[in-house]
Symmetry: none
Subunit: 198 residues, 4 copies
Amino acid sequence: MRKIDPVRHEQKRRKILQAAWRCFLRNGLGASTAEICAEAVISPGHLYHYFESKDAIVAALATAKLDEATERIKRSITAGVPALDTILSEVGQLTDSRRRAEFALLFEMLAESTRTPAMARLLQDSSRQVRKLLATVLQHGQACGEIDPTVEPELAASVLIGVVDALRAMRLRAPDLDASNVAALFETAVRRLLGARA
Amino acid sequence: MRKIDPVRHEQKRRKILQAAWRCFLRNGLGASTAEICAEAVISPGHLYHYFESKDAIVAALATAKLDEATERIKRSITAGVPALDTILSEVGQLTDSRRRAEFALLFEMLAESTRTPAMARLLQDSSRQVRKLLATVLQHGQACGEIDPTVEPELAASVLIGVVDALRAMRLRAPDLDASNVAALFETAVRRLLGARA
Amino acid sequence: MRKIDPVRHEQKRRKILQAAWRCFLRNGLGASTAEICAEAVISPGHLYHYFESKDAIVAALATAKLDEATERIKRSITAGVPALDTILSEVGQLTDSRRRAEFALLFEMLAESTRTPAMARLLQDSSRQVRKLLATVLQHGQACGEIDPTVEPELAASVLIGVVDALRAMRLRAPDLDASNVAALFETAVRRLLGARA
Amino acid sequence: MRKIDPVRHEQKRRKILQAAWRCFLRNGLGASTAEICAEAVISPGHLYHYFESKDAIVAALATAKLDEATERIKRSITAGVPALDTILSEVGQLTDSRRRAEFALLFEMLAESTRTPAMARLLQDSSRQVRKLLATVLQHGQACGEIDPTVEPELAASVLIGVVDALRAMRLRAPDLDASNVAALFETAVRRLLGARA
DNA sequence: TATGAATGAGGCTTCATTCAT
DNA sequence: TATGAATGAAGCCTCATTCAT
């Protein structure tokens, strides 16, 4: 009877996604739909008004988080922050031990991607976008003379993603290794690798 | 007629572990005990004659796989294979795309380690052992003059583990990136990093 | 079309409790949740929409039965039935051989209370309430001159509970002892113990 | 091949029964046969060499415990201990809070007796024997002038059993009620009820 | 006499999803 | 748009008992 207000609909979807995100951080992708509904303060049946399935929520969430990151990085660049600083700041945040719960989600998605084609696609698309974005930032940095022009942007972007994945894994494998030490080491390495030569 | 071999018991345990391994590769750590029993051709209850719980199976499997790797590497060194070659061969195998299912297990364990202390311990202990082992191999290589003596063994070992984790993630994030190309790149990097200088 | 009665929910809960009660009477506290669901004509999972666990059902049932008894006794007193008659009628019903199945439940709870703290609490709380209630009734009887004023109400209440427990046990230990005979004996004893003296 | 030595056989049976008793005290009649075997240091299959089933163990245990008690009481009387003291001592021991685990077993058996005819028979037989024994002791006491000759022995025996059951239940229902107080009260009551009048 | 491997039914509980209202 | 009742398969594990040796 009532007209669907697409704006309201989108708001609710976002609200649910945020609730789901909190649940996933707490309990991993195994968090139950019931828990998500409780967190979003909606009824179990209603969830399916906004999402086809739990998997759809995961997919939407992955997309949303990716968009957020993209947005953040673009803003940083637009704001005139040097490319290298932007990247290093992003790496620092993404590997901050206090966000271990997020690491877990990524690793779960990596694992799941070996089993379900949908997740594989999601992950690969997302990774490609991140790579492109980083490459763009690097090119921008090269244009500004902040970054070594001999570096191959796409390849360097891949390496950066690898660095983040490796650091995250290390945080979980050896939480007692002097965290700042390793981080500093990597920051130095990345600066040397990418920074413009005198 | 009296006591029966503990040997037989151990064999059966191994048989079950192998079955479990196949199930985990197929379906991840979520593989059901029922599936494992079916694969091992035993009744559902009988599993608990050999293992206290499903978690105990995972732990036993992790230990077993670690022991296998240790054994393999030690044999390689003993056989006179240069340290660097031994390591590179190991890295190559561990990141071989054809073993993506194994990657999934590692990533699941990393994720789980953020939520259950038992898994955290398992993972950290296992990582520490691997690091020590690699460090030993590197020291051996330094003693033989095959590896740059200025390299700090423990640190290099950590980096190597990170390289494996990163490569594995990359295989899943971007399966289409010319695999051999990336691998070659990394091999070169590692050789430069560790190899003895002229 | 919107909110649905909490009344309906409560009704269903009660329906399930009644079904559970029948099952427990038949098979003891060991009655399976499957049996309870079948008796309540609901699916196995649905039980957990209404109760957190099987233990919660037992607890709710204990509370409900206690409330029923309280209600019944209070009504009897309010209706002007003499305190002693009310009590003797209650004792008579509680020890009626035709309700041996109920005896079993009590004894199971007594046994269980030595092993699980939750059951111990449940049983002790429930016993305390019964004692208080009986004491109140006795005091009321004393105020009316129906009951010997020198009797200590709480102590007498404890004894009455003991009498019920003992009679129940006796019904099971020696079902052939002329039931009415023993009952009559006890009724006489209680009347003498509590009744107002000329 | 080997001749069965009936003596050895009986010893082993007793050893198993003792182990079972310890398990039942710990975990109730629900204690598993596996636990019993472990406690008796025999294999699971071997248990069935000595007992037809778990129920048979319970039955044998009940009989054994009954025999023990009978033996103890007879010895006490034979040793010249006054009948009333023997009885009160027995009641005191049987209701000692430190033996709550034994209470649990009795209550479980009472409960079970409402459901399985075998247990009902066991319990009733056992109760009858105890009653007879107590009656005999009381008669003996009457003959010695220690016990009121107007007391009907069988009836008094029944009441004594009831007192024990009630006290045991009370220990579990209200462990905080000053135990010694209640016990003293009952001892007084029993002495008055049974003791020879001046 | 003794072992321990093996069974398989059944216990409690969880969960994504659907449906009537 | 919203509710929450309802489903039923599946998950991990326990246990009395039997069987081959």
